[in-house]
Amino acid sequence: MREPVKILLRSRVWRSFARHGFPDSNRNRSLAVFSNFFLHFHPVKVRVRAIRFTRTFYLGGLTAACFFILTMTGFFLMFYYRPAVPHAYSDMKDFVYVVSSGKFLRNLHRWAAHAMVALVFAHMSWTFLRGAYRPPREFNWVVGVSLLVATLLLSYTGYLLPWDQLAYWAVTVGTNMVASVPMVGQKIKLLLLGGHVINDSALLRFYVLHCVVLPMALALGVGLHVWRIRKDGGIHLPALPKGDAPDESLPPVLAGLEAGHPADDSQGAEAAGARLGATESVRLVLDEDEAADVTVDLNDEPMVMTFPHLLLREVVAFLALAIVLAVVSLIFDAPLEAIADPSRTPNPAKAPWYFLGLQELLRYYPPVVAGVLLPALSITALAVIPYFRVNVERPPLWGAAPLRRLALLWLAIAAISALFRLGASGMVWSIVIPLWLVGATMSAGALPWREGKVGPWLRTRSLPFWIFTWFLASAITLTVIGALFRGPSWHLTVPWHDGIY
């Protein structure tokens, strides 16, 4: 098989666009990557540790793969969809019934969108918990947060396009939340809707945002995001102790979570970054030795060629994602309710699931707080966390005087609980109970553990880690309650009894 292929690959036609030979030598493998327009954002060699699935679960790549699927299916949808009021809904019906494979493409677009939002949250959380936001990667973290916002906006603008009851009222809820921003809220709503009510102008505006503006912004952002990863020396890995092999006794999952070798950064973050950068330098491998599958470089970090090790993994991950999404799209239909009717408000009118947490908060706080203040604070907090060099040095939380610190912790928890009770129409259990659970888990770190893995691990987690965990748990709880346990007039329902609204 190889011989005919090799002859083909030596032909003039092939060589006119692919300027390398069959990638059976390290040189050709290098050229296959960096002389390729589409692939050259990869380095030529990658660290073995970096490409393990359990390191990052490929979440970033899967998110980008979702975006790719969305763009492709989006193109097909754009051939038929008209963003005008009576036609939008009719065109959705035509997709489902008349367009060849229209139902499948539409479903795929919808489920890929949900998957992308879920994956982007997972990617952000995992990146945080791995500590990959720490200097020198602070700005890339901010870029990532903006990509999160862009993804949410993309999903939100796309939500309106089917022009059914679900779309119309979900967008109504969202724009009303936006309108509660003091002073500029009404203007922002006017800008979003192109008018005072949701009608043709809003639809066209959302269509342009969804199909042109936001995808371009996202594409640029993703490019920047990936480029910075390269400049920062590849994905963040826990530093290797000098002369030791990497600690493989802990599963990489936990090892990746801010590997607790406190003294490691003695040389300072910048130097570490520079060192890693040197590892990743774009150096051609000039030897023709096929057998050298793994090279070892200056820092004793085993590396492998991107082609085929990383690329194959990426392709397999993409295929797996595509298969899962395709199967889901074949089985489950994207919802399409009755045509949008401004005179009939469904009860309850729910926002898209990623905003349901905010809508649940609206039950307790006025719109300015629940819809504007808390989300803005959360996003700002997310963005600026890396700039606080609070825990670059990571002394264990419970080092000296654990009792005093415990008392301080629980005082702080009590104060925060009281703060959340202030101005709320009831106790916000969805936020406060995760707080207490996180506090309890933190306090567990102070117990005298026998030597093992759990104790030290608990003891050495940093404060931002716990705060982020609390944030994540609250967000998930709020979203789950809003999605499953709220019915008409936002009363509590029991899903296995009353169904899911």
Partner: protein, 646 residues
């Protein structure tokens, strides 16, 4: 880890990855092929393939296999039913599958009209279940077979139909005289019979009887000998009405006529005309998802809900004031057909047929505006088909018998009109233009119809010819006239002197007769029409022979009563039956300013004197006491603006 070990590990991983890549690629290709395959092997394609096979066998032209669609005036604006229902899409029909049969003959062309406008369902869908409206969020399912004609009514529910009684008698005549021997009214398109099933649409000559007679004379066909003609004028009108109702939608027409006959609009409003009950103008547009089916025994659809309601209204809502209509199942189906067709905005006004434009734009009536059909359509549900009164189960109070002499004798035409126009508080809706929506001339017609229900006196000639029995006459005078006019006709607080020497009326027989026949405007003197000729003769004789020498003079005036005394009297004698609710159950609660504002003093006086069972001691009060009670009632509220007039 040594490089070599790392190398071996990564090589193994690479091998596994290559296998995974191969398997997953094939799987993905397979999965991606499913969607186009499902798209291709669709229901409609299979149906059209079947047609191609059948057409081939029948040696017909083959057709192209593609989605077929027709424009539709509904908001959905495209109907793809023809993709499976090829016969209705203008393709040559074939035998062997009901799907490919031609559409039954209807006044509209399905290729131009689409299908969903008449049948309901989802036009844009091409799968059977979704197209027939079985999708979760599609709220316009196909009209079930028994209610098919509701589709006609979606546009045509405002078709004007004649008086239901007339139509019914016309139908009976048509059947009894054997017109069906030559004429078909069911639209079966038989070659041997002349089709009358849509004659109401096409229009017909009112001289059809003359044509028949002439044709019978000229023809040699024996069947003319069995011709049922000639018909009298009334019978002719009845048959005309029946023919007018034949518009090709018998179930719909029957339902609309039933609604008119039962008087549903006495409570329910349709297009702004009707009582104070729930508005039915858009009942066909109610969404099944907004209805409560917990107590519905039948299917959970709008038709099923209506069926439950029409069978037993109190089952759906125990507090409902709607009486059970008492209809047979077939009649319920007809009413449901009509109700399902009532929509306020089914299609754009560019497509409205003339009857809808006439009704909803020009404000013309879609019901007959003569007195009797009006009474039947709007009053009979509460007051009875002949005004005999009714106490519907669950109603707050009874509806009085207004078709009988007892009431009509004391109610002037003006009083009737005013009561209809303004209604009675809490018991009767107002029917004036701004409430019930009836025009003044229609209210006049109802009042005139009620007047015809009153007993007719024998003619004056007949009365004059009867023998005079003065003793009898005096006896009748004693019972009938003295309560208001005094023992010797000398006049009282409420009734003028009959015995006055200068009373022009009581001097002449024909004047007395006229007064007894019609009563006196604006007074408590109602009519007295229940006497037969000899009794009238006797009574007139008694009045004319009254002693006129000591009666009061001509300038008699009725005396206003004392409200204080009247209040006391009312409390003692009247309140047990007439008091405020809940006591006022046996009789109207009249101690109510709103009631008093609808009744002039004359009516109150006449009611007290004449409408009670006079055998009961406490109800026989003197004229002074009657005047006092009337004064007390009047003190509760103002008199109605326009007093009675005849």
């Amino acid at each position: 880890m040594m490089a070599k070990d790392a190398g071996r590990a990564t090589s193994r991983a690479l091998g596994r990855l290559r296998v995974a890549f191969a398997l997953l690629s094939i799987t993905l290709l397979g999965v991606l092929a499913i969607a186009p395959a499902t798209s291709h092997f669709s229901e409609w394609r299979a149906a059209q393939q079947r047609y191609v096979n059948l057409a081939q066998r029948a040696k017909l032209e083959p057709i192209g296999v593609r989605v077929r669609q027709a424009p539709s005036p509904t908001p959905d604006n495209v109907d793809r039913c023809g993709s499976c229902h090829l016969g209705a899409a203008g393709v040559a029909p074939v035998d062997g599958d009901p799907l490919f049969a031609a559409h039954p003959s209807i006044p509209h062309d399905p290729a131009r009209f689409g299908c969903t406008i008449c049948h309901g369902g989802q036009g844009r869908a091409v799968t059977g279940r979704a197209a027939h409206g079985g999708e979760a969020n599609w709220e316009e399912p196909l009209f079930p077979r028994p209610y098919r004609e509701a589709g006609c009514g979606v546009c045509h529910s405002r078709v004007r139909l004649p008086d239901p009684e007339l139509v019914a008698s016309g139908r009976a005549l048509f059947a009894a005289r054997g017109c069906g021997g030559c004429h078909d009214v069911d639209g079966h398109d038989l070659p041997t019979k002349r089709d009358l099933s849509k004659v109401g649409l096409r229009g017909f000559s009112r001289q059809w009887q003359d044509h028949h007679v002439r044709a019978a004379g000229e023809s040699t066909d024996d069947r003319w000998a069995a011709s049922p003609l000639p018909l009298g004028d009334e019978e002719h009108a009845a048959v005309d009405a029946y023919l007018q109702s034949l518009v090709g939608a018998p179930q719909l027409v029957a339902g609309k006529l039933l609604v008119a006959r039962l008087g549903c609009r006495g409570c329910h409003r349709i297009d702004g005309v009707g009582g104070d009950g729930p508005d039915l103008s858009d009942i066909g547009g109610r969404r099944a998802s907004e209805l409560d089916f917990s107590r519905v025994r039948g299917e959970h659809s709008l038709a099923g809900w209506l069926r439950e309601l029409l069978t037993d209204p109190s089952r759906l809502d125990p507090r409902s004031r709607m009486p059970a209509p008492g209809l047979a199942p077939a009649e319920i189906d007809q009413v449901i057909t009509y109700l399902l067709s009532l929509r306020t905005d089914p299609i754009s006004s560019a497509f409205w047929p003339p009857d809808r434009v006439r009704g909803m734009v020009l404000g013309e009536r879609d019901f007959p505006t003569e007195g009797r059909p009006l009474f039947q359509a709007f009053c009979s549900a509460c007051h009875g088909a002949r005004g005999e009164g009714r106490a519907p189960a669950g109603a707050v109070a009874f509806a009085p018998a207004i078709g009988g002499d007892a009431f009509l004798a004391i109610a002037s035409d003006g009083f009737l009109r005013e009561t209809v126009r303004r209604g009675r508080p809490e018991h009767m809706p107002a029917w004036g233009a701004s409430n019930g929506g009836l025009h003044p001339e229609e209210i006049d017609a109802i009042a005139a119809y009620l007047r015809t229900l009153q007993h007719a006196l024998p003619s004056f000639a007949e009365v004059s010819a009867s023998a005079l029995d003065l003793a009898r006459g005096r006896e009748v005078f004693q019972q009938t006239c003295t309560p208001c006019h005094g023992e010797r006709g000398e006049g009282t607080a409420i009734g003028p002197p009959l015995a006055a020497a200068d009373n022009p009326v009581t001097a002449r027989d024909d004047a007395i007769y006229g007064t007894l026949a019609r009563g006196v405007d604006d007074t408590a003197m109602g009519s007295f029409r229940t006497f037969d000729a000899p009794t009238l003769r006797a009574l007139i004789g008694a009045v004319t022979t009254l002693d006129r020498n000591h009666g009061p003079r001509k300038d008699w005036r009725p005396r206003a009563g004392d409200p204080g005394r009247g209040r006391e009297l009312f409390g003692r004698h009247c309140v047990t039956c007439h008091g405020a609710r809940p006591e006022g159950r046996k009789a109207p609660a009249i101690e109510d300013p709103r009631f008093v504002a609808t009744a002039p003093d004359s009516f109150l006086t006449a009611s007290i004197v004449r409408r009670h069972d006079r055998s009961r001691e406490e109800l026989r009060r003197s004229p002074d006491e009657v005047a006092d009670v009337v004064a007390y009632l009047r003190s509760l509220g103002p008199a109605p603006a326009s007093a009675g007039d005849r």
